[in-house]
């Protein structure tokens, strides 16, 4: 597992090196353009556009690298268990416990003393969570 992490780190170092070289090249070009403008009064728009957009692209790449978390799918989602009473309108939601299953009897109702059962087990989706926030 450690070996793998090093490999992952190496590939990101490789990308950072490329982006760094690109930024340095762009900055030097930018400096040259500025120098030319102060010395001769000539503005090289081509070089200016090139270096400015290269810097923007590099910043975007760095942000992209930073924003990518390694999601594998094993992350335990928030799973809820909905319990209902068979006689009255009593309904409650609690966190899922191992051993829960739909239609499992869940003791007596605190409202009417009737029998309760697990009505639903579900997870909140990522989109729903975002909407909630």
């Amino acid at each position: 597992m450690n070996k793998g992490s090093n490999k992952m780190r190496r590939s990101s170092v490789y990308l950072i090196a490329i982006v760094t070289v690109l930024i340095i090249l762009s900055l030097v070009t930018l400096f040259q353009t500025f120098k030319m403008y102060t010395e001769k009064g000539y503005t090289d728009f081509l070089a200016l556009t090139l270096s400015a957009s290269a810097i923007a692209f590099s910043v975007y790449m760095i942000l992209q690298m930073r924003m990518k978390p390694l999601k594998l799918g094993f992350e335990q989602p928030k799973v809820s268990t909905m319990i209902r009473c068979s006689n009255c309108d009593f309904e409650t939601i609690r966190e899922f416990k191992e051993g829960d299953y739909i239609l499992k009897e869940e003791g007596s109702c605190p409202k009417c003393n009737g029998s309760t059962f697990i009505y639903m087990i579900f997870r909140e989706s990522e989109e729903e969570k975002k909407k909630g926030n």
């Binding site: 597992m1 793998g4 490999k7 992952m8 590939s11 090249l25 030097v28 070009t29 040259q32 120098k35 030319m36 081509l46 556009t49 090139l50 957009s53 290269a54 692209f57 390694l70 999601k71 594998l72 799918g73 094993f74 335990q76 989602p77 799973v79 068979s86 899922f96 191992e98 051993g99 829960d100 299953y101 739909i102 239609l103 499992k104 639903m120 087990i121 579900f122 997870r123 909140e124 989706s125 729903e128």
Partner: protein, 410 residues
């Protein structure tokens, strides 16, 4: 300007798909075609700066473009291989974590000192050989037999590893091992094509692999979530069919009509509905095809309608949990159950209705999401409408909830 356009076309041909290609193309075109001057003018302008650092920088840029023009595709292959390597590494982590979860769960449940690692590894390498289709006659029977044998083999292996486990635990563990096996197969297949592409430096093998990689990653993440769901016995998206059947069967007497499949007699709007689903709450799909066939033979075909409820793959843009209706047998899998229902329904000329609940590939095997669970009431409403509109009082109908019933009893 014409030369600039030609250069643009030439560059476009050489630099095809990749982001870096687009990036280089953008700068190449920016240098050449955005200018009113000819290429030579531009080149002259670039090198005419009397500053030596400026010249070096310009030469470096030009060298980069020339090299990219000559070695563009090779570089692209390298970049694509690097990208595939990253995904392959993620697939390996997923596969290894899946294996670890499977071994630790078996260990935890067996309560014995026996190390299940060797047996689990053997199961993860298990190969299923599909029946020969050169002579298609009788292929369904052969296919069913092979599927049954494979299923028994898996369950026997689990029983040997966890002798004190009950039926639910055995079914859940079997499902979990199936998910771990799928992760192993995916990893090994991707690795195979990656290595072949690398060995032959074939642009097209690598390109095809890179193109389907996002889908493969999505599927493997779905199997990873499935593993977590199977470990804890949570209902999955595919269980929406059995969940609807369970709601209809709730507090009614049920009996096992065929292996791992239960039926209840439910009265709906003056009609008698035979509601069937796989036996829960352990992970299990049952044998709905055989169950429907037996019911029809028992009733001598006196069934006025068969309603099949199942989860269906949603198209991009469709809402998860969306309910649609159709005609036909909505049963997925290898086709054995679908074939049986089609055959017996045709024999007795019974109309078939399908109710489908749309869900994405990532939802099918992961814990059931709220939107899908919430579609139950809508489906029951539609069942009642279909029954009311297409049958009359005293009629007999079959309602089948298809899918994996993990975490859903009856």
């Amino acid at each position: 300007m014409a030369l600039a356009v030609e250069t643009f076309r030439f560059l476009l041909r050489i630099f095809a798909q990749d982001l870096l290609t687009d990036f280089s193309l953008f700068y190449s075109v920016l240098y050449v075609s955005m200018s009113d001057r000819s290429v030579f003018d531009v080149l002259q302008g670039l090198t005419s700066q009397d500053n030596s650092i400026g010249m070096i920088v310009q030469i470096l840029w030009l060298a980069f473009f020339v090299l990219y023009m000559l070695y563009g595709q090779r570089l692209q292959v390298k970049i694509m291989l690097k990208e595939i390597e990253g995904s392959l590494y993620r697939l390996k982590i997923i596969r290894d974590r899946g294996r670890e979860i499977a071994i630790s769960t078996v260990k935890k449940m067996s309560k014995e000192d026996n190390d299940p690692t060797e047996r689990v590894d053997r199961i993860l390498e298990h190969v299923y050989i599909s029946p020969v289709s050169l002579d298609p006659s009788g292929i369904i029977k052969r296919l069913e037999h092979l599927i049954d044998v494979r299923d028994f083999r898996f369950k026997d292996e689990v029983k040997l590893m966890v002798p004190n486990a009950d039926e639910t635990q055995i079914n859940n563990l079997t499902n979990m091992l199936e998910a771990a096996l799928a992760l192993n197969q995916i990893y090994k297949t991707v690795r195979h094509f990656y290595l072949v592409g690398k060995k032959t430096s074939s642009f097209y093998i690598i390109l095809q692999l890179q193109m389907i990689l996002p889908q493969i990653m999505k599927e493997s993440q779905a199997f990873a979530s499935a593993l977590t769901a199977f470990k804890t016995g949570q209902p999955i998206g595919d269980g929406i069919g059995p969940l609807i059947a369970a709601r209809l069967m709730h507090r009614k007497k049920e009996y096992e009509i065929t292996k791992d499949t239960v039926v209840s007699e439910v009265s709906i709007d003056g009609r008698t509905a035979y509601v069937l689903k796989a036996k829960g709450p352990g992970g299990n799909v049952g044998k709905p095809g055989e169950a429907i066939r037996r019911l029809l033979e028992e009733k001598e075909g006196k069934i006025s309608r068969i309603i099949v409820i199942d989860a269906a793959q949603k198209l991009e843009g469709e809402r998860p949990g969306e309910v649609v209706e159709g005609t036909g047998v909505a049963i997925g899998g290898p086709g054995v159950d679908k074939y049986k229902v089609e055959e017996v329904a045709t024999k007795y000329k019974i109309p078939l209705n399908a109710i489908l609940i749309k869900e994405g590939i990532e939802d099918v095997v992961s814990t059931m999401r709220k939107e899908i669970a919430n579609s139950v009431d809508e489906v029951i409403k539609r069942i009642n409408r279909i029954i009311h509109e297409t049958t009359k009082e005293g009629d007999q109908i079959i309602i089948a909830g298809i899918g994996n019933t993990i975490g859903i009893a009856q």
